[in-house]
Symmetry: C2
Subunit: 279 residues, 2 copies
């Protein structure tokens, strides 16, 4: 199996490393417009060779689009145009928009819209990890539109990665991820900006910052090139959740201002209900 | 060395276990008004015996107050009243208020106000961990008011725990922790409430929730009995930070509403500056 990875970063790189280690693919072709990333990917053994998009498509069986979501949308029609029997999948954090683009194309059956729910706050080929993804969930959207052989191949990819597959409507997917991923990133970015804005003595933060701070702010290291297009594409859902989140924060603010500590206690006990969801 | 731990939970329990393992204390007396916690602490080998507060003070060298901060404030004058040459320290997340209470007492020199910057979202004796605290920071406040022998003993406690000690004015401490700890808890509680409020299909959250969500929401499991008194005591500082945080979130909201993606990118790149602080 010959795999092309378009965009050799955290996700594309980890995918390539893991699938090759498992023996599921024997040759990896990298496509990337960043020459430093090309060099790093070759040096790190993530890809076997670098090709142009055209060459790569022509000489591979499976094509993974692992670029930021705005780039994926631009590339998809071009890729579908050029393929014959190859299978194409993406890994983006928004699905409604790309599914719409695929649906407008006659070869939509060759495209599998997916979203593996794994990542770190780091990016680029150097962030790629072998044996990533394991035991996490991955989503495949709108599977009834996909050719049987294409669906089966991408299911095998995720089985090789050790992920459990959830099938979901693209619209529903985008609502869910607004809650479980996108809002966490916004709160983390905003929290980092809060601290950077108000707390000038950064040495004191550095010394005092303990596990709690680190875990809530960790995501604020995530990069803008990836996240701006996600927020853009999932704008309506993210705004819904963000408005709700701001009003939840205002309840805490009001409790403190009014010294209504019984209600503050109720709010915290309600939040403890997250234990039912997170083990 | 005989240690009394008042409030045998996550912090008190971890402190007792670790100091005994290191051989720094050879006998641990537990004081707790929760009979389940008494039994658990004995069974888990965290304490050697349970005593009343009076008995415990009389038969120990070192007294750790590891209750919620509101209880610590109530207990401190009583404890100072009853001690002779013993050393007393607390571990609370707010310091200005308890330092004020200590300062009103003639034996204030025997009390060392401290705040070890370690914790988890769990509570009770079963949450206690041996070898906790290691390589984290701990704060000792207003050290110039403390008797030399008392200060030295508590410094030795934290050296045994492998913590690095920062000396800080209590007022300054409370401002810093509003940024590096208290606000993270509020955002986490509010985020949990946001998700629980809006997202009714909790199975979908459970399946999709990946590392990012878990790390930002983890603190929302923290208990109200501990956190309400902290927010109460540090109300002014927490409100300052919370107001700033809400206005930072509103910037993200405004960017999305206006589709001002350049500014959104700037906000994220600014947040990335947290890399300077968090490794």
């Amino acid at each position: 199996m010959r795999l092309t990875v378009i965009g050799i970063g955290l996700i594309g790189g980890s995918l390539a490393l893991t699938l090759k280690q498992k023996g599921f693919v024997d040759h990896v072709i990298g496509v990337d417009n960043n020459s430093l990333h090309q060099t790093q990917a070759l040096e790190l053994g993530i890809v076997d060779e670098i090709m142009t998009l055209e060459e790569a498509i022509a000489s591979s069986d499976l094509i993974a689009i692992t670029t930021p979501v705005n780039i994926a949308e631009i590339l998809l029609p071009t890729i579908l145009e050029k393929i014959d029997k190859q299978v194409v999948f993406d890994v983006g954090s928004t699905k409604e928009s790309i599914v719409k683009i695929a649906n407008a194309h006659s070869k939509k059956g060759r495209f599998v819209p997916t979203h593996p729910m794994w990542g770190t706050e780091f990016s680029g080929p150097e962030a790629a990890q072998q044996d990533a993804f394991k035991e996490k969930a991955t989503v495949i959207c709108n599977k009834e539109q996909i050719d049987q052989d294409a669906l089966k191949l991408v299911e095998q990819v995720y089985e090789q990665l050790g992920m459990h597959i959830l099938y979901m409507d693209a619209t529903k997917h985008d609502i869910h991820v607004a809650y479980v991923s996108h809002i966490s990133h916004i709160t983390s970015f905003a929290l980092a900006n809060t601290v950077l804005e108000k707390e000038k003595e950064s040495d004191a933060i550095f010394e005092l910052a303990s596990g709690g701070f680190e875990s809530t702010v960790r995501l604020a290291k995530s990069n803008a090139a990836m996240w701006v297009p996600i927020f853009m594409q999932n704008k309506e859902n993210v705004l819904d959740v963000l408005n709700e989140h701001i009003s939840q924060l205002k309840k805490f603010k009001s409790c403190l201002e009014k010294e209504n500590f019984d209600y503050l206690s109720d709010l915290i006990e309600n939040a403890n209900g997250i234990k039912r969801i997170l083990k």
